[in-house]
């Protein structure tokens, strides 16, 4: 029987129905994008953690705020999130300190607001595209499943036209359809894992930043 044909990978995809092919193409695109973001986030979160740790070390080791401030200024664009929070707070504090008749509570409030604003911006940057990963993780299995269901529907519809139905009649259709599910899962699993991982990392960074802000406020308040 010619039904036992060779199910080469390429032929399976080429023989698939148009909708299944569309689903596969969409999933491939989504998967590529999500993996790109996974690696981007991996690099950026890793870098943020490293920079925060380094800055914290420097901050506690060297209590001279001016030197730290100069270093941050020098780093410019490549400065880490915590450094930026620090520089925003310190510059606001220095500006207000220069002004006469501003009481210290108002100075501290203003400094804290400046630091919080920078903190929000940094958190936003760190959290960017995490929602995309979450969406991919939750939706792409359904997209793949849709492609599979469609392919199996076609396979069974084709079966109705055959007098004597054997498994060999449906097998190629089902195999082709299941590739869509495999691709959906391939896109979804890493996206979910990465989302959970990065959400956790970003949360830890956020709490680190917050505690740094409190400590830095205390340091500033102790300044003469």
């Amino acid at each position: 029987m010619e039904l036992i044909q060779d199910l080469s990978f390429v032929r399976v995809i080429i023989n698939a129905s148009t909708l299944v092919q569309l689903v596969m193409a969409l999933l491939l695109l989504v998967s590529l994008l999500s993996w790109w973001y996974i690696f981007l986030k991996m690099f950026s979160v890793h870098r943020a953690i490293k920079q925060s740790a380094a800055f914290e070390d420097a901050f506690w080791a060297n209590s001279d705020l001016n030197i730290l401030f100069q270093n941050v200024r020098k780093a410019g664009e490549s400065a880490g999130s915590m450094e930026r929070i620090f520089s925003a707070g310190l510059s606001e504090y220095v500006k207000l300190k220069k002004k006469p008749n501003v009481d210290s509570a108002a100075v501290m409030d203003s400094t804290r607001r400046a630091m919080r604003a920078t903190y929000q911006r940094e958190m936003d940057a760190l959290e960017s595209h995490l929602s995309f990963l979450a969406t991919v993780g939750s939706v792409s299995p359904y997209i793949g499943l849709f492609g599979t269901v469609w392919g199996i529907m076609n396979a069974f519809r084709g079966l109705a036209n055959v007098g004597q139905a054997t498994l060999a009649h449906v097998a190629p259709g089902i195999a082709e359809a299941l590739i869509a599910t495999a691709m959906g899962l391939f896109a979804a699993i890493p996206a979910v894992v990465a989302y959970n991982r990065y959400a956790h990392d970003v949360e830890r960074l956020a709490s680190r930043f917050e505690s740094f802000m409190e400590e830095f406020s205390n340091v500033l308040q102790r300044q003469p």
Binding site: D6, L32, M42, S44, S81
Partner: protein, 281 residues
């Protein structure tokens, strides 16, 4: 400060890594998965010598050839003979005068009416009588000729009719032939369908013993009872494959495949009474 602090270098390396991951995934799919489906180690059941010669299909189309063909031939012969017997004696008598007559007739024919018109002239009655006599002879000759002509026409008609009937017969035969061919094709496809079903059912039931060479081939003669069951001891090994385990596995499969799919049509089912099966791995 821009909110997105992705580095260009990061973007590129992340993209490259994403591509690498996909390439890995697809190569995994491609290489670790055996996409080329091997022929399952099932057996092929074939019907060699397939079936006993196809039983002539009882087509109930009346064969008109014996009805029509024998009828026309006897008709023309007597007619022909009669025409000859009638015409010959008539012609023998006027043969002597015929030559003169014809000359005369030809002369006379130019003005036959004026000759007949003036009967009052008593010039020579003998001549007139002669003329009349000759007229009569001419009329006789003419009649004979007419008769002959009529006979010929009748004969031609007969021939045409004969030809027509022959042609009609031919057409009818062709029609029947084509119908028979159609019926035969239909039965052939039906037979092929059932053959395939029987083969599929048997090969589904085979439990392959280990270590069977690819060249093994066992041949069986199977006697099937109406309804598709195999007769007790109805599976006879005609040619052993050389591997006893394989032979018995094939035999068991044939018994296990009961009831074999049989056509509903009894004439067709009769063709499946005795199956000659060849079982190959």
């Amino acid at each position: 400060m821009s909110t997105l602090s992705y580095y260009e270098g990061h973007k590129f390396s992340a993209g490259a890594l994403a591509l690498v991951v996909h390439a890995l995934f697809f190569s995994l799919l491609y290489f670790s998965f055996n996409w080329h489906v091997k022929r399952p180690p099932n057996m092929i059941v074939e019907m060699w010598d397939s079936l006993p010669d196809p039983v002539p299909i009882p087509v109930t189309i009346p064969n008109p050839t014996p009805e029509i063909i024998p009828a026309p031939p006897p008709l023309p012969m007597p007619v022909l003979q009669r025409a000859e017997t009638v015409s010959i004696p008539k012609q023998t008598e006027p043969v002597v005068t015929a030559k003169a007559d014809i000359n005369f007739k030809e002369n006379k024919k130019k003005k036959p009416v004026p000759a007949a018109k003036p009967p009052a002239k008593p010039e020579n009655i003998i001549q007139r009588l002669e003329v009349e006599k000759q007229h009569a002879v001419a009329a006789q000759v003419e009649q004979a000729k007419k008769q002959e002509l009529e006979d010929q026409i009748a004969r031609e008609k007969q021939l045409a009719a004969e030809e027509r009937t022959v042609r009609e017969n031919e057409r009818a035969r062709e029609h029947i032939e084509s119908m028979r061919a159609e019926v035969e094709a239909a039965t052939a496809s039906e037979v092929a369908r059932y053959k395939e079903m029987i083969q599929a059912k048997i090969s589904r039931n085979i439990v392959m013993p280990p270590d069977v060479p690819d060249t093994a081939e066992a041949k069986f003669m199977v006697i099937v009872l109406p309804g598709g069951s195999v007769m007790n001891d109805g599976v006879k090994l005609i040619k052993s494959s050389g591997n006893a385990a394989y032979d018995s596995a094939a035999e068991r499969a044939i018994y296990k495949a009961q009831p074999l799919p049989m056509p509903q049509d009894e004439a067709l089912a009769r063709m499946f009474r005795e199956l000659r099966l060849s079982v190959k791995p």
